[in-house]
């Protein structure tokens, strides 16, 4: 124990002993059961259906539970559900809840809560919207049974209810689930393994979760969102630290226990520290995205988009994002996640090989580009996006384009990217974002890959070819057909430049060596995590 901690603890113990307070061993135990975690971003609002940020989802998996949960192979497994039945025509799904499930306020989890929660989830989730479009009936048959009747089969139902992509189909009490999906909930009661200590919440600084004693974990071993979510801590404190230097110093000093997103440049110093362990945070990694606006010039012309594809050098982007460690990134001539069973790079040749700036400039000229400024929305408070934005400004300038660089924060980017106005009137030309590898493994929950024009994700790409191939994937009857469909999707999306992947990269997470049970995944999983 270093000098400061010794001084501190002896003073505190002395003070408490003097005041005739708690016995010393009890204090030591209490401290050991609290874990301090530094999340990737601020937890400003805490409604996982309303807010689609990753950090909200990560906090929500502690507080709410789901009917199914995907494991590390992205296969949905039963969680709150004891069993399900599908009718032979595939049109009726009957779910039976486990017994003994309780909410944090002591009320039992009933089928009507499930129905209300699913009703709130559907309008906000693309797969939920697909289900709603073919829904005939969603009712609670009795206290423990839910029936969902469709007009067409939907084989991916379990995946939809158990996926880890936002928004997750969390089950909330009926009274909370009745809130309009476009307004925030104000009460955070769920049936998950931890309770949210709302009184101790300081948005922007701290969020506290306490163990829910009445949680009934499943008997299987925990594996991502599947299995028994056994909590071995009494208390988890999320300490929000926007300054990475401060977070790094705090981790080194033992003032926090686990840092979700250490920046790559600080990893060497953390690795050298004997009390800190460092490992890849998510084996499924991240896909960087150069998102173009297909609605307005210059990128409404496919040639202009292809010109950027030709000139874009993924190595520059990746080095800017992850630094000097080559094991952390790889080239990605694809929209899908490397290392997953259905990965394909068919049609991605344009992103491979040496860059041809001259040919790109010629193609740009052919598209009729005449010097309009490209409005680039670049979030400064997210390190990878800030880095990518600067590489882009350089790239576009090299192509001879005029750059209107808007440096702002992620919240504002989120707001402005929704605008369909032309660039001169509050619209935009491009912005950067990234997608977790887990979201890009298949087209199932991949909103950013869709090409359905006005209803598509920001950028509103209009690519009938891509849409056709995605439909063919959903209708595929076996793995062979799925794989073939993926190849076709990739080619179509590349040809129409739905967006440009800037590369595939992974990040680290770091934790103190007295913390055990930390696994890699798209979400920081707190079950089976222990602090010595």
């Amino acid at each position: 124990m270093d000098r400061r901690n010794f001084l501190k603890s002896s003073l505190s113990v002395g003070a408490l002993a003097a005041s005739g307070g708690l016995a010393a061993p009890a204090i030591a135990q209490g401290a050991a059961k609290t874990l301090k975690f530094v999340p990737q971003a601020n937890l400003a609002n805490f409604d996982p259906i309303w807010g689609t940020q990753y950090v909200v989802r990560n906090a929500s998996v502690l507080v709410w539970d789901t009917l199914y949960g995907v494991d590390s192979k992205l296969e949905p497994q039963r969680q709150m559900v004891e069993g399900e039945e599908v009718s032979s025509d595939g049109l009726t799904w009957t779910f039976k809840l486990r017994s003994g499930l309780k909410f944090h306020d002591g009320e039992p989890v009933l089928a009507k809560d499930v129905v209300a929660s699913l009703k709130r989830w559907c309008p906000r989730d693309p797969m939920g919207q697909m289900i709603k479009a073919i829904e005939k009936e969603l009712v609670a048959v009795d206290d423990k049974t839910v029936k969902w009747v469709l007009s067409k089969p939907f084989p991916k139902m379990k995946f939809a209810l158990g996926k880890n992509n936002t928004p997750i189909a969390f089950i909330m009490p009926e009274r909370i689930a009745k809130t309009d999906p476009f307004k925030q909930i104000t009460e955070y009661v769920g049936s998950g393994p931890m309770k949210f200590a709302q009184k101790e919440w300081v948005p922007g600084a701290k969020a506290v979760f306490e163990k829910f004693a009445d949680y009934q974990p499943r008997s299987e071993t925990a594996d991502w969102l599947a299995g028994g979510k056994v909590i071995l801590l009494d208390r988890i404190e999320w300490v929000i630290m926007p300054d990475p230097a401060t977070a790094s110093a705090a981790l080194q000093g033992g003032e926090v226990d686990w840092w979700e997103t250490p920046i790559p440049d600080l990893i060497p110093i953390l690795k050298r520290n004997r009390n800190i362990k460092v490992d890849i945070a998510d084996p499924l990694g991240n896909v960087g995205s150069f998102r173009l606006n297909h609605m307005h010039p210059p990128f409404n012309n496919v040639k202009a988009r292809r010109a950027v594809q030709m000139a874009l050098n993924q190595e520059d982007y990746m080095r800017a994002v992850v630094g000097s460690d080559d094991s952390l990134w790889q080239l990605l001539p694809s929209f899908f996640t490397p290392g997953t069973p259905y990965y394909t790079d068919v049609g991605g040749d344009i992103l491979k090989g040496p860059r041809n700036l001259e040919a790109a400039k010629k193609l740009l000229a052919e598209s009729g580009y005449s010097g309009q400024p490209v409005t680039c929305l670049v979030a400064q408070d997210q390190a990878p996006l800030k880095a990518m934005g600067e590489v882009t400004a350089d790239l576009l300038k090299k192509l001879g384009m005029t750059v209107d660089f808007v440096a702002t924060d992620w919240g504002t980017v989120g707001q402005r990217r929704a605008s369909k106005s032309p660039p001169g009137q509050g619209g935009w030309g491009m912005f950067h974002t990234w997608h977790a590898g887990a979201d890009c493994a298949t087209p199932a929950a991949y909103n950013a890959l869709r090409g359905n024009g006005d209803s598509a994700w920001f950028g509103w790409p209009n690519s009938p070819n891509t849409e056709k191939e995605i439909t063919s994937w959903f209708e595929a009857k076996n793995a062979e057909e799925e794989k073939a469909a993926m190849g076709r999707i990739n080619k179509a999306a590349m040809d129409d430049v739905i967006y440009i992947p800037t590369g595939f990269y992974k990040g680290f997470q770091a934790w103190r060596s007295n913390v055990s049970g930390v696994v890699g995944g798209p979400i920081p999983f707190f079950w089976n995590v222990k602090k010595a």
Binding site: A249, D265, L266, R319, A387, E390, V391, T408
Partner: protein
């Protein structure tokens, strides 16, 4: 006990002039530049440093710099070396070049804010001092604006628009001019009571002439001193704005920007923050010294006050 008489004194006596004994050595009055430096060290040192920095900023392309915006992500965060004199930042850009070019932004922001705030404050202070019915309204508004801490005001203003050098200048100038207005108004009020001004009014001189002839010359001195302090304060405020992320866009290198970029890495690559910090501190120091020196020179009484 004889008093020796020098030949000069002898001839003076012979010429009929009274002769003063040589009990004190003659005071050496240093002339020229050295004299100036000796009498006003602050102005000399501050002015010299500032001039050097301005020259450095103007002649940036000739000082061995490369394009400050040139990216080379494969060569990021290299420590200082022969190739990168101050090292390279997280995008592989040469920090030396960015610091030298960054001087331009910081100096421009500093001077522009000083000039704009001084002029705005001058005009408003004059109006407030002369137009009695407007005085209390204007001063209330100035008090109100001064009640909002300047950094908060500047950040809030920057939140309204996007980051750019003119916007930063405007935001900081708006936060600073109320103090100048107060100062000028104070001077005007005190001068208005002076006999020579009353005489000029009695003689029928119109107000504009009074302002130009009598008021302005007396405001120039304290205004200039205040302007140098505003310049120094503006440069620091710009760096704080950039630090928070509400300042000049990252494409344009300014010392604040470079420090903000490198702040996450100060523990492992301190040179990214170190060099712009040194330059900023030296510049602000120079301006402060200049201001102190000017104040001492302009009003020896004020020298003791502040």
């Amino acid at each position: 006990m004889t008093v020796t008489v020098s030949p000069a004194a002898e001839s003076a006596v012979l010429a009929g002039e009274p002769e003063l004994p040589d009990i004190l050595p003659p005071v050496k009055q240093r002339r020229g530049i050295t004299g100036f430096i000796y009498r006003h060290p602050a102005i000399a040192i501050g002015g010299a440093m500032l001039s050097l920095l301005i020259l450095m900023a103007i002649f940036a392309p000739l000082l061995g710099t490369t394009d400050p915006a040139a990216l080379a992500p494969s060569k990021r965060t290299r420590p200082p070396s022969a190739e990168y004199w101050f090292g390279s930042d997280m995008m592989g850009r040469d920090i030396y070049s960015r610091v030298i070019y960054g001087a331009r932004v910081s100096l421009i922001v500093g001077f522009a804010v000083a000039i704009i705030a001084s002029l705005a404050g001058l005009v408003i202070g004059l109006v407030s001092g002369f137009v009695r019915w407007a005085d209390s309204i204007i001063m209330r508004i100035m008090d109100g604006m001064m009640s909002i801490p300047p950094i908060l005001l500047a950040v809030a203003l920057m939140a309204l628009t996007r980051g750019s050098v003119p916007n930063v200048i405007a935001a900081i100038a708006i936060a600073e001019f109320p103090r100048v207005a107060r100062l000028v108004r104070g001077v005007v009020l005190s001068l208005r009571e002076q006999p020579y001004v009353e005489a000029a009014v009695a003689a029928g001189t119109r107000t504009p002439m009074i302002i130009i002839r009598h008021i302005l010359p007396n405001t120039i001195a304290p205004l200039t001193v205040q302007a140098t302090y505003i310049c120094a304060s503006a440069m620091i405020t710009e760096s704080i704005l950039s630090f928070i992320g509400a300042g000049t866009p990252p494409i344009i290198p300014s010392w604040g920007n470079i420090m903000a970029d490198g702040r996450a890495l100060w523990q492992v690559k301190p040179f990214i923050v170190f060099f712009p910090a040194i330059f900023l501190s030296i510049t602000v120091l120079a301006v402060n010294l200049l201001g102190d020196g000017l104040r001492d020179a302009v009003d020896p009484r004020m020298a003791k006050r502040l």
